[in-house]
């Protein structure tokens, strides 16, 4: 008997989001369906010489003073965002606190840059004795995981998987596998990140940061468009509460969707460029895991970050596996690339849209790049019956992920 036939069904029963639109999951689909961009001109970037990108997509200022000081003191912004998102996800799932034994899968791309820079500055100025203990807990690689576990008393398995832009989707995928395999009954999972201009500078070094639309920031992120010129970096946190179907049914929980397949692999031909061959394999793994044919997918929410190479490779891989009729969008035109949060935030938004029966267009897709043709790009929001969709996330460093979500029946 195969593991496949023994595994438990895994459902999504809660979600929480901190996005550049603000706090709350409902803001995502609402703003995306309205075609709103959260991208703004960034004054701080303008002060950095040799970085030509001047745009970013950041979370509006929020008050976190309600988080008790003993938890807040070791939280940089990414953990604060995660605390707000986890609180919403638990409430959304019908809990005041995390159920006993809940597991936590939460990561970020890189550490809390602002805290690190301050830390290193003091070290270099020989002011090390002025550094407070809480700083150490802000810059650990697994700081969000540790902080959220403490603040919410989440005492099951704890994994802080960090795979750059695929972080939240791989955490969701691994949580799905753990629940399906019977290793845990429920899990909070996702990714979180805080913006720092260094993030944009890193992509700028690789000529992959958007720099031709600084004077019209809302046009700066334009996946699949012929005049796209790179990523707009952002921040946020997306978290799902997932559990076995039997657990959800036992407590009569509202079920928002079911995860039926997950695929992941590693690009080994290039550390920076995903290839259509490797992406194709990743999506095929997810289909195989779900036990469905490509025709079983109604819609794909692409990773598509608005880079020159990545959008082409993903388009061609999708065309290769699904053919020309598959409907595809990217939500990064709206909120830029929210890094470790992107997979979860875009998954939450797409699930909401699937349940509403209406999907947002890829905004700023004024003229489809010839090299990205061959699939059905959503250029206008559209009423769509989406029973099953795929969400893709691909990372610098080579981690690819594809997750398949189905409406619960």
């Amino acid at each position: 008997m195969s593991l496949h036939s023994n595994r438990k069904r895994v459902v999504i029963t809660g979600a929480g989001a901190i996005s550049p639109y603000g706090a709350g999951i409902s803001l995502l689909a609402e703003n995306m369906l309205a075609g709103n961009s959260s991208v703004l001109f960034n004054e701080e970037l303008a002060q950095i010489a040799d970085v030509s990108s001047r745009v970013s997509s950041t979370v509006p200022p929020m008050d976190f003073s309600h988080i008790p000081r003993q938890f807040r003191r070791s939280m940089s912004k990414m953990s604060l965002y995660a605390a707000a998102a986890v609180k919403e996800a638990l409430a959304n799932a019908g809990f005041e606190k995390a159920p006993e034994g809940t597991s936590l899968y939460l990561g970020s791309t890189i550490s809390a840059m602002e805290t690190w820079i301050d830390f290193v500055g003091k070290y270099q100025r020989k002011e090390f004795d002025t550094i407070k203990t809480s700083v150490v807990f802000q810059v650990m690689n697994h700081s969000p995981l540790a902080n959220i576990a403490q603040a919410f008393d989440i005492n099951g398995q704890g994994f802080g998987i960090c795979t750059a832009c695929a972080t939240s989707l791989i955490n969701i995928g691994c949580a799905y596998q753990a629940i399906a395999g019977g290793f845990t009954e429920s899990a909070l999972c996702g990714g979180t990140d805080e913006y720092h201009p260094i993030m944009t500078a890193c992509f700028s070094i690789m000529n992959a940061a958007s720099n031709n639309f600084n004077d019209v920031p809302q046009k700066a992120s334009r996946p699949f468009d012929a005049s796209r010129c790179g990523i707009v970096c952002g921040e946020g946190c997306g978290v799902l509460f997932m559990e076995s179907l039997e657990s959800a049914l036992k407590r009569n929980a509202e079920i928002y969707g079911e995860i039926i397949g997950f695929g992941t692999n590693t690009e080994t031909k290039s550390i920076s460029h995903p290839s259509r061959e490797c992406i194709s394999k990743c999506m095929t793994f997810a289909l195989k895991d779900a036990g469905i044919e490509p025709s079983g997918i109604d819609f794909i929410n692409a990773h598509a970050t608005s880079t020159l190479a990545g959008d082409i490779e993903e388009s061609k891989a999708i065309q290769n596996i699904f053919g020309a009729d598959i409907t595809v969008n990217s939500l990064k035109g709206h909120i830029g690339h929210t890094m470790a949060a992107s997979g979860a935030l875009e998954l939450i938004a797409t699930l909401d849209m699937a349940n509403r029966g209406e999907c947002a267009a890829t905004i700023n897709l004024d003229k489809i790049d010839n090299a990205c043709e061959g699939i059905n790009h959503l250029t206008q929001k559209q009423k769509l019956e989406v029973g099953t969709f795929m969400k893709n996330s691909f990372a610098l460093g080579g981690t690819n992920c594809s997750l398949i979500v189905k409406k619960y029946e």
Binding site: R69, Q70, R73, D129, T130, I131, K132, T133, S134
Partner: protein, 92 residues
């Protein structure tokens, strides 16, 4: 620096750093039982007070014996006095 000035400086620094309620700042208040601080706060308290009084504290083993606000006021008062005497000697 007078004792009243020392008490005010200590209280102001700790209230700000640890978000303490001013009415709880009583001499007999125990840092752990009454003010809700922990071992990490104790380390950070030293840093905060070093910056507030421009003195070096953490190398002194007596710090470990401080349990209440009064213990702290006494300790800082003694430290400030020594510092002032040293400065006077150096200026003489």
């Amino acid at each position: 620096m007078t004792r009243e000035e020392i008490i005010k400086t200590v209280d102001d620094a700790l209230i700000k750093e640890f978000e303490l309620e001013p009415e709880k700042m009583k001499p007999e208040a125990n840092f752990f039982a009454d003010l809700g601080l922990d071992s990490l706060d104790a380390v950070d308290m030293v840093i905060v007070l070093e910056q507030a009084f421009k003195v070096k504290i953490r190398t002194n083993y007596q710090v470990g014996k401080i349990m209440t606000l009064k213990d702290l006021y006494d300790y800082i008062e003694e430290l400030v006095k020594q510092q002032e005497q040293l400065t006077e000697q150096q200026n003489a």
